[in-house]
């Protein structure tokens, strides 16, 4: 089985000897945020077999540069909306780790009160505004948020994260058309990882069709980028955000990336046969986290000692958050019946 989905980006080679216009502080922050997400995912994965997180999980390993690179260009009152693969965006936007883990452990103090589960993480205090487990379901909703900003003349932007498969849902294009028509401050951020569960892109969309070109046909500025390269993600999102803030309307970003783990649950499932384990290994060479670390080291912006410290801090934070979640109370029967209607 050949490597079907050719890697189209350059990893960090494209920035290898190139100074970024971003400050050292920001660059190191980007790295630390990616590292944190990676470690959190690893921790969740390592404990998932205990069967205490009674929630489906959709790990984001391989996608970290997208979450962190894009969310870093947003302000706290800019809003993001996600699909089922929420962990990375939730954390990158500043969502509470304790709230997330409590949610995975089905606790009363979970970030959505144990009503939502891992596919409905939200933390409205930081602009992680909602998610939908229905593929493409949140795209029109993010568009509606942008409409509210426009109507209220607020200087805010909303982002809809979507997978490659979400572009097969008609509602995606309905939302894109409306956003372009009204010049809404929304960014459609497509994480093209070439798979929908176990179905490769080629059984769902014709060969030689590029997703971002569809968006272009609908009248949007659209771009295809290397989703494992956080600086590319940062730059293109920043451009889109600027466009939105200027009133010039929406942008469609297609970031090529790869999911290292199975669609849901812990571990890689390539052995089942739907994708070549070599393909996974191929993509792992372009680790968004490690690749950026190498870059920072090469550019003399970071050191091994600093990384070790970060690892230590992150480890402590994660342990504390797990302890918090596990020792948190379960919901009560009465909780079932609240919030069906709003007053």
């Amino acid at each position: 089985m050949a490597i079907k989905n050719k890697y189209k980006g350059n990893g960090f080679q494209s920035h290898e000897n190139q100074n970024s216009s971003l400050s050292k502080e920001i660059l190191v922050g980007l790295y630390r945020d990616m590292l944190r997400i990676r470690r959190i995912e690893e921790a969740i994965e390592s404990r998932y077999h205990e069967d205490e997180m009674k929630s489906p999980i959709h790990l984001v390993m391989g996608h970290e540069a997208i979450s962190v690179g894009s969310c870093s260009t947003l302000k706290i009152d800019d809003l993001i909306y996600c699909g089922h693969r929420t962990h990375g965006h939730y954390l990158a936007k500043g969502g509470s780790l304790k709230g997330m883990l409590s949610e995975l452990y089905c606790r009363a103090n979970g970030c959505s009160g144990s009503r939502g589960g891992s596919m409905h993480l939200l933390d409205k205090s930081v602009g992680m505004a909602g998610s939908s487990a229905i593929v493409a379901g949140a795209i029109p909703i993010a568009t509606g948020a942008a409409l509210s900003f426009q109507l209220k003349q607020q200087d805010r932007v909303s982002v809809a994260y979507l997978g490659d498969a979400a572009t097969e849902e008609g509602a995606c294009w309905e939302a894109v058309n409306f956003a372009a028509l009204k010049k809404l401050p929304v960014i459609f951020f497509c994480e093209n990882n070439f798979f929908s569960v176990c179905s490769p892109l080629e059984v769902r969309q014709p060969p030689n069709v590029e997703i971002y070109r569809k968006a272009e046909g609908f009248g949007l500025p659209a771009v295809q980028i290397d989703g494992t390269n956080i600086l590319d993600v940062y730059d293109s999102t920043q451009e889109a955000v600027a466009r939105a803030r200027k009133g010039d309307g929406p942008t469609f970003i297609e970031a090529l990336t790869y999911r290292w783990r199975g669609h849901g649950g812990a571990g890689d499932d390539s052995a089942s046969g739907y994708r070549d384990p070599e393909e996974v290994q191929h993509w792992e060479q372009y680790c968004p986290v490690d690749g950026f670390y190498d870059y920072l080291i090469k550019m003399n912006l970071y050191s091994k000692a600093e990384k070790d410290l970060a690892e230590k801090e992150i480890k402590e934070e994660i342990e504390e958050a797990f302890d918090f979640a596990i020792s948190s109370p379960n919901p009560q029967e009465i909780d079932l019946y609240t919030h069906v209607y709003s007053q």
Binding site: L79, Y81, C111, S112, G113, R115, G116, H120, L122, K124, A129, G130, S132, I134, G137, I139, P140, I141, A142, T143, G144, A145, A146, L147, S148, F149, L151, K152, S158, G170, A171, W173, E174, A175, N177, F178, L181, T338, H339, V340, Y341, S342, Q343
Partner: protein, 346 residues
């Protein structure tokens, strides 16, 4: 919230529907409600296919865009699913959209957003998100509307938690319930009936509120209870009035809302009469009639003196042709017939 405050500040609550006062058409009553809401709260918007065209959605939205601007009263692409989601997202962020459709049939395209998103965010988001939106549509009938342009789909949505569903029959209620719906912090569906939209009636000026979830007696009587909404309860009322000479009297209850359902008024009346006829503009099977029939058999069984009866549509798609339509839709005569049978058999 400017809206809620203004509503509470306005002294009027449930106004009695007196027979005196200004007479308005059903359509104008709706138009007035929207104009009041738009005037009161800058977050209210009105949208839908053709809301600002010369036809103005049967006249319901006529000229609103001239008064309030095309930013707030605007035409939309077709995209029913996408636009319902857009309304939901806007509502989650402080806008109060009123999204109008010619026909409920077109809402079938948006069921994913209605059933799995709009009505569920408040719950899924642990009460942190509100979705104050109104979706409005007018049930079609006649002139060849046919199977795809005349569906009364309220029964399909009755089971969906988190939704409110309104079906008015009078201009008074149409205006009052529209105002209440816009002020409500939940997704509210309003199903009008094209034939009710021909009605005229007394409609107070200014803001008043008709509560969601409360029925009213249109007639009081002793022989049986008739409950329903919209055009069906109108027909039932006419049938009862025509039977006056025969000495038959009935409690005729216009529920006005089918979700939440006013169980109290239904059970109270059945307790008195012991007989119930349930009427609806939709299919009998699995619809509003079924819910109320079951409810009564559960909660008022000991008072029931006769089988419950329902009058809705048969388990058949609406035919397009005129003659077939006459056979399809129950008329006043069918109503009278059933009422007489129910009263006679004791």
């Amino acid at each position: 919230m400017p809206w809620a405050e203004a509503l509470l500040a306005s002294k009027s609550n449930e106004l009695p529907c007196s027979q005196e006062g200004r007479v308005l058409s059903y359509v104008d009553a709706l138009n007035e409600a929207m104009a009041l809401a738009l005037g009161l709260d800058p977050n209210v918007i009105v949208l839908g296919q053709g809301v600002n065209d010369p036809k103005g959605m049967f006249g319901v939205t006529t000229d609103l865009h001239k008064k309030f601007g095309v930013e707030r009263v605007f035409d939309t692409p077709l995209s029913e699913e996408g636009l319902f989601g857009v309304c939901t997202g806007a509502a989650m962020n402080g806008i109060r959209p009123v999204y109008l459709h010619n026909r409920p049939d077109f809402l079938l395209l948006a069921f994913n957003q209605i059933v799995s998103h709009s009505s569920k965010f408040h719950y899924m988001d642990n009460g942190e998100t509100n979705v104050p939106l109104v979706a409005w549509a007018a049930i079609g009938r006649g002139w060849g509307s046919g199977a795809q342009h005349s569906q009364a789909i309220q029964g399909l949505l009755l089971g969906v938690p988190g939704l409110k569903i309104i079906m008015p029959s009078t201009p008074y209620d149409a205006k009052g319930l529209m105002l209440t719906a816009i002020a409500d912090n939940n997704p509210v569906l309003i199903f009008e009936h094209r034939w009710c939209m021909r009605n005229k009636g007394v409609v107070p000026e200014g803001i008043y509120k008709v509560p969601i979830g409360e029925g009213v007696y249109r007639r009081k009587g002793t022989d049986l209870t008739i409950v329903g909404t919209s055009h069906s309860i109108e027909l039932a009322t006419q049938a009862v009035d025509q039977l006056n000479d025969t000495g038959i009297t009935a409690d005729v209850i216009d529920l006005r809302t089918i979700k939440p359902l006013d169980e109290k008024i239904i059970l109270e009346s059945v307790q008195k009469t012991g007989k119930i006829l349930i009427v609806d503009t939709g299919w009998e099977m699995g619809g509003v009639c079924a819910e109320i029939g079951c409810l009564v058999a559960e909660k008022a069984f000991s008072y029931l003196k006769a089988p419950v009866r329902r009058i809705g549509l048969p388990d058949v798609p609406s035919p397009a042709g005129f003659t077939l339509e006459q056979f399809y839709y129950p008329n006043e005569e069918n109503f009278s017939q059933v009422i007489k049978e129910m009263v006679e058999k004791t």
